[in-house]
């Protein structure tokens, strides 16, 4: 029940609506209590009526009242449903919106620690479980309790307490049975879910490795392994079904026993003139109304348990502080970048990703960063943009340490193009204008021209309105990268960062884009990370990183003059290019 305390803020905020819904529920319960009573009175009235013409007046009054009551109950039921479910849906909405809002505040450290599947599960299934507890949980708890109390009052006080005492003997057994069954169902259901996910894994594994399966002739072996899991899954499902199938006999036997007891004892009371036939009929109808409360408590325990586990998971993320502390307020003066003694180690990594890095980049200069995979090139950029906080050294932007600048200002300084260009399921035009939704069509097209992607876009039937993604066109890796460059250019941020952003573009297009950039950027600084050295050969300064350390630095000519990684790699790439050219010749 701790869940209801944790959700207290919500209940307090919406106490009026909850109170109204509960009032309506109570109304329904009370009115429902009168149905058997009215029927009983009507029967007695009918039995006493003189045998002539139409049924007696009192009987028809009772029946008329019953009809009116039915309509009233109908309206009240409609009302509480709308209010109670509506409010619980609002809770779900609120949690979902907060969750999303928190996601937008988290930096890369957070996304490294939580995988997408887990975050999705919390945003969907867990919030559903909380919603269920706040809606149907409240309903079954309140309504079950109220019905129980009212039925007991009617039985003991209004009809006959002796009869009630005798007839209720089987009900504790029913409640116990329900509780045990509900626990067993829950337990077996968890197992069935696990088996199902094993089944999924097995199928996934076999199909992902289909080449090996076929090459080794493992079709039969794999099928046998899959079948044995499928059989286990079926066995778990059978256990679930067997537990669930127990509900009916339990209800049935308890009700039959209760009915036999009340009719037997009731008959004796009638003979003793202590009870009317109609009252016995009402009593029997009340018995039927006791099933729901017995069931409701087991059900309540289950959903509250699930909702409370879900709430813990969701709440832990909602309470998590931002992974980047955004307390800075200053604006940078200029765009010169200075790094001194920069050092950074990823959490859970034994070796530093960057060590002792110094750098001075004046506004308008072009910096090239090269080096083997894993040398720390992207880490360097992400530190400058404050996706992570460095443990050692200083980063200054426009003469102000990064941590004193507002995060928005830092991010606004850079136009960052990552290697795996991420496109949203929007139109091509909206994807380019992602950071400037108000950009004019002319601006968008100008950016696309510089990124050499305008002609590709015009090749699609819908041009800039072509949707991207599942329901739209599939773009090649090179097209995606060039779109991402256009997107970055459109922001007009003072520092353009290409993080291996031309890897899927061929050499000639790369040259064209870089030439466009040199002509157009005027005043914009540019940081180019690349595996292909041709992309950085015009840079003002080039850093060669290796294992997180600056191994070489200088401009293209200086680096070529040395027999280091740069010059060797340059020779390698020259050889590679000539081999490619030769290969084309051979086939031609």
């Amino acid at each position: 029940m701790a869940l209801f305390l944790q959700l207290g803020w919500f209940f307090r905020e919406h106490w009026r609506t909850y109170a109204l819904a509960l009032l309506m529920l109570a109304g329904v319960a009370v009115l429902n209590m009168s149905v058997p009573w009215l029927i009983g009175r009507a029967i007695d009235a009918l039995l006493q009526a003189p045998a002539a013409g139409t049924p007696s007046m009192p009987a028809s009054h009772y029946l008329l009242a019953l009809t009116g009551l039915g309509v009233a109950v109908y309206l009240l039921r409609m009302g509480w449903r709308l209010i109670l479910f509506g409010t619980s849906y609002r809770l779900g909405n609120l949690l979902r919106a907060r969750f999303y809002q928190r996601l937008t505040c988290q930096g890369q450290a957070f996304y490294n620690a939580h995988n997408t599947g887990d975050l999705m599960a919390r945003a969907t299934n867990d919030i559903d479980a909380i919603e269920l507890a706040a809606g149907e949980g409240v309903l079954s708890g309140f309504d079950g309790l109220l019905t129980l109390v009212l039925v007991l009052v009617m039985m003991f006080v209004v009809i006959d307490w002796r009869l009630a005492l005798v007839a209720l003997v089987p009900f504790p057994f029913m409640a116990l049975g329900f509780y045990r069954i509900s626990s067993a169902v829950h337990h077996h259901f968890q197992q069935a879910l696990e088996q199902f996910s094993r089944l999924n894994d097995r199928a996934q594994e076999a199909l992902a490795g289909i080449r090996l399966v076929k090459a080794m002739g493992r079709e039969t072996v794999e099928t046998r392994a899959f079948c044995s899991i499928a059989e286990e899954a079926a066995a778990s499902n059978f256990r679930v079904a067997r537990s669930e199938a127990l509900y009916e006999p339990v209800i049935f036997l308890s009700m039959a026993a209760a009915l036999a007891l009340s009719v037997g004892f009731g008959a004796w009371l009638i003979v003793q003139q202590a009870l009317t036939v109609g009252a016995l009929a009402s009593f029997i109808m009340y018995l039927g109304q006791l099933i729901w409360p017995m069931f409701a408590f087991g059900w309540l325990l289950n959903i509250v348990e699930r909702g409370s586990a879900a709430f813990k998971r969701v709440d832990s993320l909602l309470q998590l502080p931002d992974s980047i502390e955004a307390s800075g307020t200053l604006q940078p003066k200029g765009t010169a970048i200075r790094l001194q003694g920069l050092g950074f180690t990823y959490p859970d990594s034994p070796t530093p990703a960057l060590q002792q890095l110094d750098l001075q980049l004046e506004a308008g200069q072009v910096l090239g960063v090269v080096g083997p995979t894993g040398a720390g090139k992207s880490t360097l950029i992400q530190l400058m943009m404050r996706y992570w906080d460095a443990q050692h050294g200083v980063i200054e932007l426009g003469g102000v340490p990064l941590s004193q600048l507002s995060l928005t200002a830092v991010r606004g300084t850079f136009a960052y193009v990552p290697q795996d260009a991420f496109l949203f399921s929007l139109s091509i035009g909206d994807n380019i204008a992602l950071s400037r939704p108000d950009a004019s069509q002319a601006d968008i097209e100008a950016a696309a021209r510089i990124a050499s992607v305008h002609d590709d876009i015009m090749g699609f039937a819908q041009g800039y309105d072509t949707p991207v993604g599942e329901r739209g066109v599939t773009l090649s890796g090179g097209q995606r990268q060039r779109l991402a460059i256009a997107r970055a250019l459109l922001t007009r941020a003072p520092v353009l960062v290409l993080d291996d952003a031309l890897s899927a573009v061929d050499v000639h297009t790369e040259g064209r884009i870089l030439a466009h950039l040199r002509r157009n950027v005027g005043g914009q600084s540019c940081i180019i990370i690349s595996h292909r050295l041709s992309a950085v050969q015009h840079a003002d300064q080039i850093l060669v990183l290796s294992h997180g350390i600056v191994a070489e630095r200088g401009d293209h000519a200086e680096l070529l003059a040395r027999d280091g990684w740069y010059s060797r790699m340059y020779a390698y790439q020259q050889l590679e290019a000539s081999l490619d050219a030769r290969d084309r010749e051979v086939s031609a």
Binding site: R211, V277, L579
Partner: protein, 597 residues
């Protein structure tokens, strides 16, 4: 419902096929079906007998004050007996139906899985693994739900409803007719509900998946959103979607509140009033017995529930039909045909003539390839990505059928060899060493039930026997996530042992040294030189050092052999492709050396 049936509409023929697939299973195990139906009928009869006995007690004993002990005891005993019997029979019947349903789904799952594994490789080029997995698991799960629910809920409730109506008719036809009006009314109400809520339900589902898509896309693209300072805009968009979702759900709740439970409950109160009124009319005419009214009250309390249950399962039925038609389509895909001949690969000589292949028409991958490999020869294939070298291996493994020319092994066409002969005669060492979470023994055996001696021999050939013997549990040592971790080199040795265990005559290596350190490369090289001359070796390699001792090296370019000869021959050629590749790799090594400085 309209929206969902639109989005999931399948061709009629497809639906019919799916329907046949699903309905065949219901009648597959006739004895079980008959037994279950019999149990169901008996249970229902015992069930509805209860209130009739109640009526007899009230009318024949209570009201006339006839309390003869023996008759009362008989009545009580038959009541208890009928109710206990009903409970037991119903439980048994539910389990029988559940058993049938689960057996059917198990069979469908096995059939689909075995079928999918036997689909030709070309099918997998087009298929998306995630979708295939979903067909095998999620869709069959939906079918399971249908069977379980349909058999145990719908069928049971229909019979119960019929039983109640019959029992009511036996007691009093006029009152039964009043009660019977509930059936068409409830059906009409549910129909109306489907009409009104259909669009909203479809929209809710649609919005829900959009919300999920939006969250997952935002998580994936968060760096981009943050880099552009667009958090606020995306949050607002999400909230818009979220609110739309809320409104759509409220529409479904409104329709449900208007027409589902509250309405059905109202109807049952009205019928109750009707029955009591009808009873009153009869009583006035002096024909009614109060016991009949008791029995009717009892029946009516159980009358609405089955109706509501049945009608609420229709959504499930539609979902299962869509799932069923997808599964059915998958089953209709034609399997790869293998020959049943007894021919075996005895020597391992390969002869390739005029071999041509394309994945897509107009884009040839291999063009007129010709090659003679003597038994025990060591042939290497090198070339750029897209030169056709992997395709050549795929064709040798009979994964695809050539579009022209022929591959012969030991002078018999590849296509004439049985699946078993191929798998026993040709071993493959793939690029990614795949280790099962199982014992070392099972990892070498791979379910082929090989001779333990053969497994040990293969481990010796791969120089792994010594390492295994040194382990505490020897060949039974568990590998994989929770077991012992092998070094990269040992893993490669394990893969070699696995390929050698069935004593293949031909061994194919698919870039087995592409992503390994030089130590592991040496493991492979040593194995190759020891096998040289004993097994036919076809080695596709990226690293030229792996193959410098090959009898013949083929340089593929755009699906044709551009150069061929020994390592020395090829290097001696001025301007040769192989020579350039070799120099490139030399340079790559120099670059690597510079990295470590």
């Amino acid at each position: 419902m309209r929206a969902s049936s639109q989005s999931t509409a399948a061709p009629v023929s497809d639906r019919r096929g799916a329907f046949r697939l699903l309905s065949d299973y219901v009648v597959r195990d006739k004895p079980l079906l008959i037994k279950a139906l019999l149990l169901l009928l008996l249970a229902t009869a015992a069930d509805v007998a209860g209130p009739i006995l109640l009526k007899v007690f009230i009318d024949d004993h209570l009201l006339v004050e006839n309390f003869e002990l023996r008759a009362l005891l008989v009545l009580l005993l038959s009541y208890l007996l009928s109710q206990v019997a009903a409970a037991w029979l119903r439980y048994q019947q539910t389990l029988r139906f559940c058993d049938m349903a689960l057996a059917a789904v198990l069979d469908i799952r096995e059939r689909v899985f075995a079928h999918v594994l036997r689909l030709p490789m070309a099918f997998y080029d087009r298929a998306i693994t995630g979708q295939l997995v979903s067909r095998i698991t999620n869709d069959t799960e939906a079918i399971k739900d249908l069977y379980v629910q349909f058999l145990s809920v719908v069928l049971t409730n229909v019979i119960l409803l019929a039983g109640i109506i019959v029992a009511m008719g036996l007691l009093n036809v006029q009152l039964m007719l009043i009660a019977l009006t509930l059936v068409p009314t409830v059906v009409a109400v549910i129909y109306l509900y489907q009409r009104f809520s259909g669009a909203a339900v479809g929209q809710t589902r649609q919005l829900r998946s959009e919300i999920n898509a939006s969250i997952s896309e935002s998580i994936a693209g968060m760096a981009v959103i943050q880099a552009g300072n667009q958090q606020r805009r995306f949050t607002q968009q999400f909230e818009g979607l979220n609110n739309q979702y809320y409104r759509a759900r409220m529409r479904t709740v409104r329709a449900g509140a208007l027409l589902l439970r509250p309405a059905i409950d109202l109807l049952s109160v009205l019928v109750l009033v009707g029955v009591v009124w009808g009873f009153g009319l009869q009583q006035v005419n002096g024909v009614a017995e109060i016991g009949v009214l008791y029995a009717f009250l009892n029946y009516l309390s159980r009358f609405t529930e089955p109706l509501a249950e049945i009608t609420q399962r229709f959504n499930l039925y539609q979902q299962a039909m869509v799932a069923g038609s997808r599964v059915h389509q998958l089953i209709l895909e034609s399997e790869q045909q293998y020959q049943a001949g007894t021919a075996r690969i005895s020597a391992g000589a390969i002869s390739i003539r005029d071999l041509a292949f394309h994945y897509q028409p107009g884009k040839p991958v291999l063009r007129g390839l010709a090659l003679q490999v003597p038994a025990g020869g060591f042939y290497a294939v090198v070339g750029h990505t897209g030169s056709g070298k992997s395709t050549l291996l795929n064709l040798l493994l009979n994964f695809y059928t050539p579009s022209g020319g022929e591959i012969r092994i030991d002078d018999q066409p590849l296509s004439a060899l049985s699946h078993g002969a191929l798998r026993a005669g040709i071993g493959l060492i793939p690029q990614e060493p795949f280790v099962l979470a199982a014992s070392i023994y099972d990892n070498i055996d791979m379910g082929r039930n090989l001779d333990p001696a053969a497994i040990e021999r293969a481990a010796r050939q791969a120089h792994l026997h010594g390492v295994i013997s040194g382990m505490e549990q020897g060949y039974q040592t568990l590998l994989g996530e929770r077991g012992t971790r092998l070094s990269t080199g040992q893993r490669q040795q394990l893969i070699i042992a696995r390929a050698l265990a069935a004593s293949p005559r031909i061994l194919l290596l698919d870039e087995a040294t592409a992503n390994v350190d030089s130590e592991t490369e040496q493991v492979v090289q040593r194995a190759l030189s020891e096998l040289h001359g004993r097994v036919t070796l076809i080695v596709v390699a990226h690293r030229l050092s792996t193959i410098r001792h090959a009898d013949r090296i083929l340089v593929l370019s755009h699906g044709e052999i551009a150069e061929a000869g020994t390592h020395a021959d090829l290097l001696a050629r001025p301007d040769g492709l192989y020579g350039s590749m070799y120099r490139l790799q030399q340079q790559a090594r120099r670059v690597e050396e510079a990295e470590d400085v």
